[in-house]
Amino acid sequence: MAAVQTTSERALNKVAIISVLIVTIIFLAPIYWIVSTSFKPRHLATTVPPTIVFEPEISPFVKLTLRRSQLREQPTPEEYTAAPWWERLVFDGGEKIVRSGRGEVQLSGYPSRFVNSLIIAITSTILAVAMGTITAYGFSRFKMPGEQDWLFFILSTRMLPPVVVAIPMFLMYRVVGLNDTHVGLIILYTAFNLSFSVWLMKGFIDEIPKEYEEAALVDGYTRMEAFFKVVLPEAATGIAATAVFCFITAWNEYAFALIMTRRDAQTAPPFIPSQVGSGLPDWTVIAAGTFLFLLPVAIFTFLLRNHLLRGMSFGAIRK
């Protein structure tokens, strides 16, 4: 590498940096739009051209999480001053918070949908990655008749577009009573991610020299202990990468969730757009819901970023 950059290299560098900046801005623009909209007062959400500079408010998040209804008559000044700050924000938007007979506030549908999403995505990710890792280990380390055929069979479960099986699944789930249950969606997403998890983990485990385990076996460990003490730590990068992919798939899944769930086990993806239709759409609330929905994947990916970067080179075990 040349220690001194020539003028043309420097110019080229600048062009590269500028191109990267432009591309980044193009990619981040929609996300900025969503995030900014979720902090806008309602009347600024739909202005043309979009308002860039505004005073951010928290009201969309209050409206997102609490049950509210249209105001028939303006609150009296006493009522207004007696109300906590977040209730005043709702009054300002021409709505009031629905309270129970005892005067307690009630949550909107969003928080429970969000929790459903978390429960279902996390559980199915853990199951798919755990089963995938064990299966991949078996395929990687032991000879079995028809190994290639089995692997192909596992992959073939992904070949059918999910929508094709949605209706039959719905009918079967209705018979066994799994419609609109957490367990139902967890089974579905686990099955959906499993083939992918097996294939990805097999790639990673193949890269781990089997000498590592054999050394442990000779040292007096059982195969099980060797698996947990030697293989799993070495496969951590692969597990992280697989987990992120499975989590994203399960978290973002829309079609099955829409068909299979209504209330109890409904996840956020089918819920957020359903709010568009009830009354006049409040885009700030929808944006706030979308923004919160984006966070878990971003956080999860950020936490595992070191593993992912190494995992993305797909193996390449350092000696």
């Binding site: 000498e211 054999e214 050394a215 076996l217 007096g220 460990y221 070495e234």
Partner: protein, 355 residues
Amino acid sequence: MAGISLRGISKTYGGTRALRGLDLDIEDGEFFVLLGQTGAGKTTTLRLIAGLEKPTEGEIYIDGQNVADWNAAERDVALVLQQYSLYPRLSVRGNLEFPLKSKVRNFSSDEIERRVNKAAETLQITKLLDRKVERLSGGEMQRVSIGRAIVREPRVFLMDEPLSALDAKLREALRVELKKLHTELKATFLFVTHDQVEAMSMGDKIGVLNRGKLVQVGTPAEVYHNPCNTFVARAVGSPPMNLFDARVAGGQMEIGSVKVPVGANGTALDGRDLTVGVRPENIRLENGAPVSARVFDIEDHGVVKILTMQVGEDKVHATVPAKTVVRLDETVQFGWQPEKTLLFDRQSGTNISTQ
């Protein structure tokens, strides 16, 4: 401490026969070297003894006990591999502790600490203990690998070409250390290599393996001076033994157009197709000696010179004292003492000198 016996061991992988009818006895406390080219079945032999693989046929005895049903952990052997025997995630200490932390061993933490420190001292790696394995040089890594084996004080050490990835200097140094270690530990060592110098310099006994078959077992001197066939003759000694096609007629040995006298029992071999073997150090340059040759190459090793001479189509190696004056392309005459030759049957390659 324990001896090892292999009885009629065969191992087949799919269609590949890695080992064929192997019989081998390694005595308690012996340093046994298994010498063989790549694919000869050296690693397979070690894996069978370690219990990582089951033989297709035959039995393995450790300390007189048939270990067919014992798994790797129960056999109490240590295995040092050429590579990949250290865990990159762990420090040197972590790697040394790993074999001691297994449940079957059940050592107290004081005992673990004591053994790790002792092994580190023996191998002079004490100051490396807290280093990450990834940061070690090749020689240091191999020391740690050996350390991983000795902490357990096993009955048998199995070593699969542990030195072959190292440079010549380090290899020599570690060779000496391993021998020293063997003397100190008084354990049984089975050391596998494709390097005949390693085999000759380290082994109490050498076993020569050729395509899954054990060809000869003996002390280095026996194998060197009395190889049982041309394969072994070629496999040990550097430069390798000179082998010529020859024929005995009327008390004279004809090698090409050259006639040399035969040794004592020469007449019995009349008319037979033979291969004659002469070690390079037994070749004498002498004016008036029977064979004329052109000097093709000279390697000066300080104490000796190794000459490569061209005789017709053949190349002949000779180890001569360094003070010998020769020039490239010079024509020289050489010969050897008849009793220093080995005779092999040309068809089968079997040594018939002693018959």
